[in-house]
Symmetry: C2
Subunit: 131 residues, 2 copies
DNA sequence: GTTCATGCAAATCGTTTGCACAATG
DNA sequence: CATTGTGCAAACGATTTGCATGAAC
């Protein structure tokens, strides 16, 4: 069931470009850059190859994990736990760690106002089902 | 320049529904629920009101902050800093905090495998520009 | 009676996919 | 030559928006 991959100039250049930048580009940024050197390139190809590179474990996508926006009536600061099996998002009661912002400020000199944490794993119900 | 809001049954019910659930619903979940009691309700109205409630500070959206998927060729675990002014995403060199997962496990009994943190604030360039 | 909200449908935007053709192995 | 990748354009799914009508103040 292993997938076979053939090399392609497009995929190679996408990976190189991604490896050579410290920013975290979007697909269309990559498309615009490479279009200059590969004029026949299409945006669909960029997306296809990004997904292949993720399958290959060579890159990763930075996203929230959900295609849907989700809304929360609890506006007080809190962390979230996301169950990898059932997808539910659960508010955590553990205290906000104020030290973390300071640690980043010291390491970077960036003005660090706040942070968010999502924990991933199995919720109560799902870990019982897995047993 | 202050915005004026008039009350509407739809918005009131959306806020109530959101306040009465521990889950973090999507717009269409809210739509499905309320459609039963307000049959003429439209999905556009749900979205419009969710955005108004956010403006009013009564609810918040749980998202990554970016509409675009972003890709990263650095697959080693690390945290991100997101500049609120220029939107750039910067890899942080501070060590991963393994204690955090344990803290969550103790508080919840959830099997906690990993976590992600994003810090928000102003990057170097932008904090200089603001001065 | 002016302003803001609604329902509906069309539009938008990022991403995915079907297809015929080209490149890889 | 069998398989995988490409470009193109159409399709998709979540969200937004234009417009005529309706409710709030």
């Amino acid at each position: 069931m292993e997938k076979k991959y053939k090399r392609s100039k497009q995929r190679e250049r996408i990976l190189e470009l991604l490896g050579s930048t410290v920013s975290h580009p979007t697909a269309s940024w990559i498309y615009d850059k490479l279009k200059k050197e590969i004029p026949e390139l299409s945006l669909g190809t960029v997306y296809r190859n990004l997904n292949i590179l993720i399958e290959q474990g060579l890159i990763r996508k930075i996203d929230f994990g959900s295609t849907f926006d989700r809304y929360d009536a609890d506006i007080s600061p809190h962390y979230h736990f996301i169950c990898e099996r059932c997808g539910s998002i659960i508010d955590l009661k553990i205290p906000i760690d104020g030290e973390l912002n300071k640690r980043v400020e010291k390491a970077t000199n960036f003005k660090t106002k706040r942070h968010r944490i999502e924990f991933y794993g199995l919720c109560d119900k799902c870990s019982k089902k897995m047993a």
